[in-house]
């Protein structure tokens, strides 16, 4: 599972905006080739966590390391945002090329064509984002994130704006994209228990603000469709219960940790 040995880690991470504590006491590790799903209620600091992991903001306490060094934006990690964030004045090809600022021209073009093919958008290389459907825009955003061959993908509720069918397809696509031998590690923020279970090798559950890790869970190797797996109903039930408790109870109360193995 640990291909290449790249590692993204947070230790004792805490963050606040002014007097408001947003994240507390976050410890986590993600290895290359592994998907960590982050599940938590609205406003608990999930997006802030991704910004910290990307190096876009500095933590108030604790530290983030990417391969044992502090993270720097665009160096080893890419973000996929919920609302795509394609530049509306660039066609798809130029949007993807934007993520490769330092690449020499022939290689850049080749790489852009390659990732466009990977997400099935070759035909739309010269198209403006305004002309694409939500699913296509999100595939383009994913391609842009993959283009620089990051060790880690930081995905912020990337499929939340898609309809159920497109979401299902994107989940399958993502599973394939990251499962290869050179696949990146992924931190996948989601509101959806099912999505966390389907995509995550491991799942962490955050409490309401300030977000702390209240549960950690490993999913089994699903094999085929996770919903056909015998452990699916029980895991799903437990995740829901945890989520409900964490929202209903005092966010500072001490939850019991469990490793999720049935």
């Amino acid at each position: 599972m640990i291909a290449g040995g790249s590692k993204l880690a947070a230790t004792g991470l805490a963050h606040r905006f002014g007097p408001m504590a947003v994240l507390e006491d976050i410890d986590l590790t993600v290895n290359k080739g592994e998907v960590l799903a982050v599940l938590g209620p609205s406003g608990c600091g999930k997006s802030t966590l991704l910004r910290l992991l990307a190096g876009l903001i500095r933590p108030a306490e604790g530290k983030v390391t990417l391969n044992d060094a502090p993270p720097s934006p665009g160096k080893g990690s890419s973000i996929v945002f919920q609302n795509y964030r394609l530049l509306p004045w660039k066609n798809l090809r130029d949007n993807l090329a934007f993520a490769l600022p330092d690449w020499p021209e022939p290689q850049r073009r080749e790489r852009v064509d390659q990732v466009l093919r990977l997400v099935g958008l070759t035909r739309f290389a010269e198209t403006w984002p305004a002309k694409l459907s939500g699913g296509m825009k999100q595939r383009a955003a994913l391609a842009r994130a993959l283009a620089p061959r990051p060790d880690f993908l930081l995905m912020d509720e990337p499929f939340a704006a898609l309809d159920a069918q497109a979401r299902e397809l994107m989940q399958q696509e993502l599973r394939q994209l990251v499962s290869g031998p050179d696949g990146p590690g992924v931190v996948f923020v989601t509101h959806s228990v099912d999505e966390a279970l389907v995509l995550g090798h491991r799942i962490i559950l955050l409490s309401p603000r300030p977000g702390r890790i209240v549960a950690r869970l490993s999913t089994p190797d699903w094999g085929g469709d996770p919903r056909d797996h015998p452990d699916w109903p029980e895991l799903r039930r437990r995740m829901w219960q945890q989520l409900r408790e964490s929202v209903l109870n005092d966010p500072n109360s001490d939850f019991h940790h469990f490793d999720g193995r049935p």
Binding site: K75, S78, R85, L87, A99, W128, A130, P148
Partner: protein, 267 residues
Amino acid sequence: MPKTTRTAGAVTRRSGGRADLLLTAALRLGFLALLLAVWTIAARMAPPGLFASPLAVAKAGWAMMAEGRLLPAIAASLTVYVTGFLLAVGFGSLLGIAMGTFRLLGRTLDIYVMALAATPRVAFIPLIIVALGLGLQAKVLIVFLGAVMPVILNAYAGVRAADPELVEMAQATGASRSRILAHVILPGAVPYLVTGARIGATIALINTIVAELYTAISGLGGLLAIYGSRFRMAEYLAVVVVLALIGAIVTEALRLMEKRLLRWRDA
């Protein structure tokens, strides 16, 4: 199902667009005819010597052209107008972008720019004449001062209206500040820049005439002064028509440029 609807909608819109264009052209021509009719009737009813009919104006315009008075005046006015306007767009955009990019500069200067924009620029004309005389430089400066304010303020607003989410996306790719400015902030500010240019172009044309009336009499403004004071209404109105044409052509050119620059909006 949604896909079919979208395609059908696009097709209808496109063919509808062509029909729309024809209709607009026909309506505009019809309105022009109406305007000329009203003008002709008004000219008949006005006391002789105070107004002129379209036909008389056309004849006067033709005569002025033949005598070589109209074209040199147009050339003189366009020189002042275009020079002042282009300087205003160049300098104003740069200053507005700098003010939006360097917050401290923006906060320092913006109240002064707004105060200056609210002052009638005619007030500066005596000063300008004292400093630069009555020639081309003074005229260009008067045009420049009028046009530059909306350009600065719109460029400034455009940079500040940059989408913070797109900026964050760019930062996450490791883009430098200058790269973010060139690929995210400036393209996003184009609608504002074009608006500033359009308002500036209108003020520039007005100020061209003001400059030609207040400094050394010249150009189309000069012709207005001469024919106006002698009650040569046909010639006077011919100059007014030329000014209206210049205004319309410049506005239309800017509109086409805007359409081209913003073609990504609903390509």
